[in-house]
């Protein structure tokens, strides 16, 4: 096979072809993996799989280690070089992201995903679980229209937008908010004595909770956990929201500095 000579483009737009999956280079064959901002697309005309860019940004290549558990494959691993190719948003690549959170092009994150730390508001509790709505990501701005209801402002289609088809009034908490919903199950509140958790001693409706996403969950809810020292209630008001903001005394009590009332919560370690 003749050697294929090509250069990777530096700045790309969506739909721009980056490279084929395999490139016969010397001395090893290069295999490219589609990273963030890229996707493998099949081109019918040439019957070839290529990696194409899916966003505007700069191309970044990182050499990856070959996985060791591929002994059953016929190809000897020494003949191949793995390179992950990804497209990084120009504005997000520098790490000063928080200072200019308002600039639109700076947003990379649109959806919560597994492992993310999120801020959420408790909307309902029961013996088994606390229902929350996700209101923000850690160190990441949410999209401008992230939640039409309690989060911000915006328009919904006449038929209720994409949520309209299956939207039922009984599921709405207070408004037509389009925030993402989550559930903290009682087993996921803390790491120890998981079976003896009393939800009412951990959360109250209206509390702002820092939690981590366990899984994408079912159709409606993400599954969240607070079973870590730095996760739990951050802001809470005493007397079911009628009183003042409280401070955390230890990991399971909060105190109001004005009235001195003490309430039970599963607090996040603040520092």
């Amino acid at each position: 096979m003749s050697e294929l000579n090509f250069e990777l483009p530096s700045r790309v737009i969506p739909g721009q072809l980056l490279c084929p999956l395999y490139v016969p280079t010397e001395p090893k064959v290069t295999k490219y993996i589609a990273g963030p901002g890229t996707k493998v697309v099949h081109y019918d005309l040439n019957n070839i799989d290529v990696i194409t860019s899916t966003r505007i940004g700069n191309v970044q290549v990182v050499e990856k280690d070959l996985p060791n558990n591929e002994e059953n494959e016929k190809t000897t691993n020494n003949d191949m070089m793995l390179i992950e190719i990804s497209v990084i948003n120009k504005t997000t690549s520098n790490d000063s992201g928080i200072s200019n959170t308002l600039s639109k092009s700076n947003r990379d994150k649109l959806l919560p995903k597994e492992g993310d730390i999120v801020l959420c508001r408790v909307v309902r509790i029961s013996l088994q679980r606390a229902n929350v709505e996700i209101i923000g990501f850690q160190n990441e701005p949410i999209p401008i229209d992230g939640g039409v209801g309690t989060n911000g402002h915006g328009v919904i289609g006449v038929n209720g937008g994409s949520g309209g088809a299956t939207f039922s009034m009984s599921q709405s908490s207070s408004d037509l908010g389009e925030t993402f919903r989550g559930i903290i199950r009682s087993q996921d509140v803390r790491a120890t004595e998981r079976d003896r958790v009393k939800m009412i001693e951990c959360f109250k409706p209206g509390d702002i909770v820092k939690a981590q996403i366990l899984s994408l969950g079912d159709g409606v809810n993400y599954y969240l956990t607070t079973a870590r020292n730095d996760l739990g209630v951050i802001f809470a008001k005493s007397n079911n929201g009628a009183g003042n903001l409280m401070y955390a005394m230890d990991w399971q009590t909060m105190v109001s500095p004005v009235t001195g009332v003490i309430e039970k919560r599963k607090c996040a370690k603040p520092f």
């Binding site: 700045r11 737009i13 969506p14 739909g15 901002g37 996707k39 697309v41 081109y43 019918d44 005309l45 194409t52 899916t54 966003r55 505007i56 948003n89 639109k104 092009s105 947003r107 990379d108 649109l110 959806l111 999209p143 401008i144 229209d145 992230g146 939640g147 039409v148 911000g152 402002h153 915006g154 328009v155 919904i156 289609g157 006449v158 937008g161 994409s162 949520g163 088809a165 299956t166 939207f167 039922s168 599921q171 408004d175 037509l176 389009e178 925030t179 993402f180 919903r181 994408l216 969950g217 079912d218 159709g219 409606v220």
Partner: protein, 228 residues
């Protein structure tokens, strides 16, 4: 009315719509007197992404909201696209059909699997004075959606191009190699009164000549996106 609408903030009972005096100054269109499309992006601050596509005959505003959560009971691994086209010049029935057509075209290029359990809402506002056939607007509609989606940071695998020839709109992907959609205005099939509609040209000929022109016609759009 006894039943009060509690979900909206109603204006005062004596509120009247604003009426402005007619301005007699006709804006000269000579500056815009070309058929080339002009693009703009990121104008609407409360939408996730937006675009304006205009020439001397029309102005199209496209807004992208989302991806935002759906209230679907079962888990949806892919995102849904929802398009609403607003215009007072066309029948709602035709606009609905057109939005379904656009959804099917956009589904071919949006990375749906990147946005599980969510939906993308696209709103398109037609701003036209003299109505043309719907089919004439499809190239602008498709470009508007593509720019607004990119502006919203939604990942797409292809910049789809559309060309209208002989009252047929052809949507092509992968630089013209992939045929994604064909549109003819419904009423054009029924009454061919105007006479300028030559139905002796077979469809395959139309598609072929669109494929030849697609790269040239997409160049302006691609140039704009590269500078976004």
């Amino acid at each position: 009315m006894n039943v009060q609408d509690r979900r909206r903030i109603l204006g005062p009972a004596s509120a009247k719509p604003l009426v402005f005096a007619n301005s007699n100054e006709k804006q000269s269109l000579s500056a815009l007197n070309n058929d080339e499309l002009n693009f703009q992006n990121g104008i609407i601050s409360n939408s996730n992404g937006s675009s304006i596509v205009e020439n001397n005959k029309m102005s199209l505003l496209t807004l992208v909201y989302g991806p935002r959560s759906t209230r679907d009971v079962s888990f949806q691994p892919n995102c849904k696209i929802n398009i609403i086209i607003k215009s007072e010049k066309f029948e709602t029935k035709n606009l609905k059909e057109l939005s379904q057509f656009l959804i099917s075209v956009l589904q071919c290029c949006v990375c749906l699997e990147n946005y599980p359990k969510s939906g993308i809402d696209i709103f398109i506002n037609f701003n036209i004075e003299d109505e043309d056939e719907l089919v004439e607007y499809i190239p602008a509609l498709v470009s508007g959606c593509i720019i607004a989606l990119i502006d919203a940071n939604i990942e797409i695998t292809d910049i789809i191009g559309a060309i209208t020839l002989n009252h047929t709109a052809v949507c092509l992907g992968q630089n013209g190699d992939q045929l994604l959609g064909l549109w003819k205005d419904p009423y054009k099939f029924n009454n061919n009164e105007s006479g300028d509609y030559d139905d002796s040209i077979p469809l395959s000929e139309i598609i072929k000549s669109c494929q030849e022109k697609i790269i040239v016609s997409k160049q302006q759009l691609i140039r704009f996106i590269s500078n976004m």
